[in-house]
Symmetry: C2
């Protein structure tokens, strides 16, 4: 009975991780979570409004999306420090997806954002249930890096209009760039000044304030919240300045305007096949990109405390969080990088930190919205600009360029595809190019003729080491699994080697690096065996791995070629072929424990 109950409670804790930590929760933890919750809320209120603006939505939507989703994630997420809510790239994707379907800011636009949140929620939830979290692995690091940098530029440019104070119609990136440059004369100087002051203040808070406060001797507990209060400060100062001087009327400074007070209303997203079909690519892009950003932050933070993240449970938690956004007038959310890092640094111990953040946002909505009336849009734009500037990742490109030209190429292709073709299509192009390059690389594997090192049992690449080779036996090591894309290459390589060495009696394929052989390659090996046999050359195999040998045995290839032609090592093959004399070491090898096939 007790075991049963323990099992049941463990099962519950799997699906609702909060049950796992709540029992061990202590007073210390509460203090830490409270501090972290306050610090994140200080960042989230201005960011939420700014990212909603980026998504083409009213400012309050960003705050609505920062309540229920955070509470749900706090209960269901496996990360104790992930800070969920509106983030820049998801907001950009929302705008990209909805702008063609409805006018920005219209009721229809807001309604479609709810539909999108619903779709993202369902997609992520189902992916989590059927354990498809691994699908995001096909987004390689160069693709993510290229995409993020380009998206940051697209986002940044889209905010310039708020800092410059004139309207730029939404459209493709290139159109926006040319339109902006063509209308620089219409710049509103007061707006520009406010924007620049905002950017300057944020940069000071971000880069200088921390070390300054430490020099002054302020305790670390205070340094983190203060350095993160930059956005809040410029929001307050900006609203005060514009309101006091009437700059919105006098100088035409764009302001946020009326932000309705009160908790988010309950909403029912509109669901019609037309919208669903039109939004599907965007919903998929947000589900993948959002999840990926979220899970990579969560993992990197968890590993610092030797905690574990369950990738599929994360999908479920994010999915439910998005469903929560859909029914409380929000828009798609995910775990953001900067706020999560702050949450972690501020000492968050559990999902309660998230829940406390949500409560503070709710209080803001209840009591503080009048303060945002005069908030200049240029200030929100400044917050976005500084946030996305950090996303432009030239380091990864330099790194990839030095390490591998193929990776650097993938990165560049993705980057330019996002800028020139479009945000969603750009990722797709990047993924396809990356896969093609990978296949291309494995289709032309590294192949080395190997020879014996001195009198040892070790056989190495003749091009890298001084080795002895036999004129009667040609030994080739192929450093790749054998599969359809390289089976013709294998055939050509082996036939060329045999044609170039007319005197050889035997050819040995060394399989230390062959992890599997697919049906196409097996076919090629059978053909090679027969082709070599026909010209009087015996085909041998050395050092094939256990799982590979299991399969070759099952299919009868080992019997067809002859079991005596399969050798444990290159050295065993040379001895069997009479090309070298047995050594003492070889005797030892024979006493290896018996080989036992296992089922994987």
């Amino acid at each position: 009975m007790t075991t049963e109950r323990a099992n049941a409670s463990r099962a519950w804790a799997h699906w609702v991780p909060v049950l796992g930590w709540v029992r061990h929760y202590q007073r210390d933890d509460l203090v830490s979570d409270l501090i972290a919750g306050v610090v994140v809320a200080i960042m989230l209120v201005p960011q939420g409004m700014a990212y909603a603006m980026l998504a083409g939505l009213p400012a309050e939507v960003g705050l609505y999306a920062s309540i229920l989703p955070l509470i749900l994630y706090g209960l269901l997420g496996t990360s104790r420090t992930l800070a969920v809510g509106p983030v820049a790239i998801v907001s950009l994707l929302v705008a990209t997806g909805i702008v063609p379907l409805a006018e920005a800011g219209s009721a229809q636009y807001v309604a479609l954002a709810l539909t999108l949140a619903l779709m993202v929620g369902l997609i992520q939830f189902v992916m989590g249930i059927v354990k498809l979290g691994t699908l995001v692995n096909f987004l390689s690091h160069p693709v993510i890096s290229g995409f993020t940098s380009a998206a940051a530029i697209v986002i940044g440019w889209s905010q310039l209009k708020h800092v410059l104070g004139f309207n730029v119609p939404r459209g493709e990136f290139i159109e926006q760039v040319t339109h902006t440059l063509g209308h620089l004369g219409e710049t509103n100087p007061v707006t520009l000044l406010i924007g620049l002051a905002g950017v300057g203040t944020l940069l000071f808070f971000k880069n200088r304030l921390g070390s300054l406060l430490q020099k002054v001797g302020l305790p670390a507990t205070w340094v983190v919240p203060l350095t993160k209060a930059g956005p809040l400060l410029i929001v307050a100062l900006g609203a005060l300045l514009v309101g006091a001087l009437g700059l919105d009327q006098r100088s035409g400074v764009g302001i946020v305007g009326n932000v309705p007070a009160g908790l988010p209303p309950l909403t029912l997203p509109q669901v019609d096949t037309g919208s669903l079909r039109a939004l599907l690519p965007t919903a998929l892009a947000i589900s993948f990109v959002g999840y990926m950003e979220s899970v990579s932050v969560a993992k990197s933070l968890a590993s610092k405390r030797r905690e574990k993240i369950d990738a599929n449970q994360e999908l479920i938690a994010l999915g439910v969080a998005n469903l929560g956004a859909a029914v409380t007038a929000g828009y798609p959310v995910t775990g953001g990088f900067s706020r999560s890092v702050v949450n972690f640094a501020a000492g968050a111990r559990s999902g309660l930190a998230s829940i406390l953040t949500a409560l503070l946002v709710a209080l803001t909505l209840l009591f503080l919205t009048p303060l945002f009336y005069y908030l200049p849009q240029a200030i929100l734009a400044a917050i976005i600009l500084v946030a996305v500037a950090g996303l432009i990742d030239t380091k990864s490109f330099v790194h990839a360029w030095r390490y591998s030209k193929a990776d650097a190429f993938s990165l560049l292709v993705t980057f330019f595809a996002v800028l020139l073709i479009g945000v969603e299509q750009g990722i797709l192009v990047g993924v396809v190019v990356t896969i093609a390059l990978y296949l291309w690389r494995t289709s032309r594997p590294h192949v080395a003729e190997v020879g014996r090192v001195g009198d040892s049992e070790i056989y190495r690449n003749v091009a890298r080491h001084t080795v002895q080779t036999s004129s009667a036996v040609h030994m080739l090591r192929v450093d790749e699994s054998l599969y359809f894309a390289n089976s013709k290459f294998l055939e050509d390589t082996v036939l060329a080697a045999v044609a170039d060495h007319p005197d050889i009696k035997a050819f040995v394929l060394v399989g230390t690096a062959i992890n599997f052989i697919d049906a196409s390659a097996l076919e090629t090996l059978e053909q090679l065996h027969h082709a070599l046999e026909a010209v009087g050359v015996e085909m041998h195999f050395a050092a094939l791995k256990g799982p590979v040998m299991d399969r070759l045995r099952t299919i009868g290839f080992v019997d067809e070629v002859g079991a005596q032609r399969f050798h444990l090592s290159p050295h065993d093959a040379m001895i069997a072929l009479g090309a070298v004399a047995p050594t003492n070491g070889h005797q030892q090898r024979q006493t290896l424990p018996a080989y036992a096939p296992v089922k994987r």
Copy 2:
């Protein structure tokens, strides 16, 4: 001067391989080539007409496509035995591509076939020049097998109407099947009888006649031509029977009708952007599939005589052959399987055999066309039916099923996609599924914890062998290159291993099977190194390969982690970590010749 001339002549021989063999040509060779040329012509005349009918073209187009293309291939091809001309699958693709654009048999239809030949010729020629022959490697054996079987069924079914004697409108396969089954009552009994007699005769020639003639004691030189004369015989008998009894008028037996006498006219293919764009997918499919069929036959025959095939020169030769077809009223051609095997078996020694075949087809067109007037279409259909029946490849499926479920799945998907979605789309679906399965497989590589075998230096999978492990050092071998699709898997695996073994001081990644590490995986390794460091576990590497180490050194990863953490072998790592005592064998290892990085 002499060297220069020799070089020039070698360069010429590279582009025009005929120059390579013509100098060594002997009287013996001529006799062999003559016999092979005659035998292939005996097959080619009826097959050419039959395949033209399959492609929806007049019978003479099949003969036109069997003259200039064969001569051009004979001069430019690197295979001495490949028999070029109309083949079944390319003919099917031609029909699939042109039917939506023009009525079968119309002048426009014939004109578009020329355009297609021109496009295929250009595509193959350019692919050969820029050496893109390797692209066809991405057609895996299961995809080819599934495609060929399904295409054979589609082709076979499309010929039933000629044997049953009623019209079936062209359309999707399923439509054709239901229409045929719904109209079986309209079967023309005389036509059916002729068709069945044709099929029976061909099967007798194919399966029985050879052994019968050998028993009678006929010399082998005669057996081959006689067994291949089945099609010619039923063509002659069929035409005679229908003509003598007037079956075309009396019983409504469909006949070939007037085949214009004389050599093919010179033609200029029509080139307009509309047609080019509409035909492009078909042209690409024919270029790829045709080349692949051709080069695989050529290679398998060449290897039997230890000759070499130059894949890119083959593309050039096939391209020029198709250009030849385009200007002499033909349609796309390629190297066919059955005729090439016969050409080889009949003793063809050089491209001259092809040229002689072409001359015989030309003579047929000049003098024998009146004989084909009464040739029943049911006889041509019988020839196609028997030819494609051999293409249905159940053996590959059974083989793939036993060897690898993933390969069997690719095969089935391609097979059904070709039948249900379409011929060209089916290949594409198959290729995409195959690549996805491959990525899926490599994204979850085989991982083994390894331990020491007895007192040896050998470290093996703990699940397969009796080995000793250390409680302080966890040693994991990943049997796959590390790249974006499996880098998250690697991260999860390593972090889980570390979390599950809280006592370990060091983690060793064994890289015997890691052929490369891409930028994403490198990023993951860096993160893992830091994550493990943070929890007090040292990350070590053992037995990484030369090229992999070169790159890790260049990018600074080796210095970052510390060069002392990279070991030549698992045993070296254990010694360095103090987990085992050095052995004698280890001393020997230290005297390995110095490692020399090389540029690939």
